[in-house]
Subunit: 183 residues, 2 copies
């Protein structure tokens, strides 16, 4: 079975109280902050390679992590840096994984038109002239799959890694049963 590769993890966390973003922007090297564009301050870390959005409320969003442990490492790094700047931050931020994006290879070229008909148009969106992937909204687990003619797929919206495993297992079963995959 082709491996499932997590390519992006998005998480949110509360790291403290009211933060003075203007001060942080001035003291934190590399911080991007343009209130007119976006209310959050954008801080990109090189290792783990992530982008952390810091908000006035003390909440943050971490994007781009390749694993859940990396999310924790990234957020803790930001918290430590803010602590050095004497900003009011917690010792243990409460991190919540919000979205895990993963890819895998179904190892079979796919006839997306036939798959669209088979999965039912109520859960499928397929407009090759707009986007080459077929969008399938799975109910359980509640995730969205992007299927490509090459057999590769992307799973987005998962809250935990097991959701992805279940989704991949389900779609393989559905396609195989419908005879839409080289078995």
């Amino acid at each position: 079975m082709a491996e499932i590769i997590v390519v992006n993890v998005v998480a949110s966390a509360s790291i403290g109280k009211e933060l003075m973003l203007q001060d942080i922007a001035f003291q934190l090297e590399g911080a991007e902050y343009d209130q007119d564009r976006f209310p959050g301050l954008i801080y990109k870390l090189a290792e783990p390679k992530t982008a952390v959005l810091i908000f006035r409320s003390g909440k943050v969003v971490c994007t781009g992590a390749r694993s859940i442990p990396d999310v924790h490492v990234a957020i803790n790094k930001v918290v430590d840096e803010l602590r050095v700047l004497d900003m009011p931050v917690k010792d243990e931020p409460d991190i919540v994984i919000q979205n895990i994006v993963a890819t895998t290879n179904l190892e079979s070229t796919l006839n997306l038109i036939q798959i669209a008909m088979s999965l039912g148009f109520e859960n499928v969106e397929y407009e090759p002239e707009a986007f080459p992937g077929l969008v399938y909204r799975m109910d359980d687990p509640k995730v969205v799959l992007l299927l490509f003619g090459s057999g590769k797929m992307v799973c987005v919206g998962a809250r935990e890694v097991n959701n992805i495993k279940d989704a991949v297992r389900n779609i393989k079963e559905e396609l195989s049963t419908a005879g839409l995959m080289r078995t």
Copy 2:
């Protein structure tokens, strides 16, 4: 003492579960519904003269009422009309008064520049070239007063009528003490 006139009462309420706004828009005479402009359906009542915003969530907002009893009359009218259309509505919507707007006359012309200095620039905004009224944010009760050179004023943000009475009493006392009102 010049009377306080309530000119607008805004209230919110939950009147039921998920509502099909599209259906309501089609069946309710006079309903305005344009999803691209605003997510709520706008329904204007002639008596009491109000505008009720109905949302998909089953929550509504009533604006324009001249009194608190009128808010109840208006919302109940809407609920009754929706019930006739077989929409899922409650028997007793839980109405919450969110904002009461009132006007009164301080019966003295006011020197807004002097008042701005006296009340303290941290709570006052006065830019006559932009807007003729002086904006005063009172802490207790937490309301905002718009003072005009004519002596007339507007009080917004009150949650109950007593807030307005207290606010008027307070501003009169503050201005009189500072000798900024003809007593």
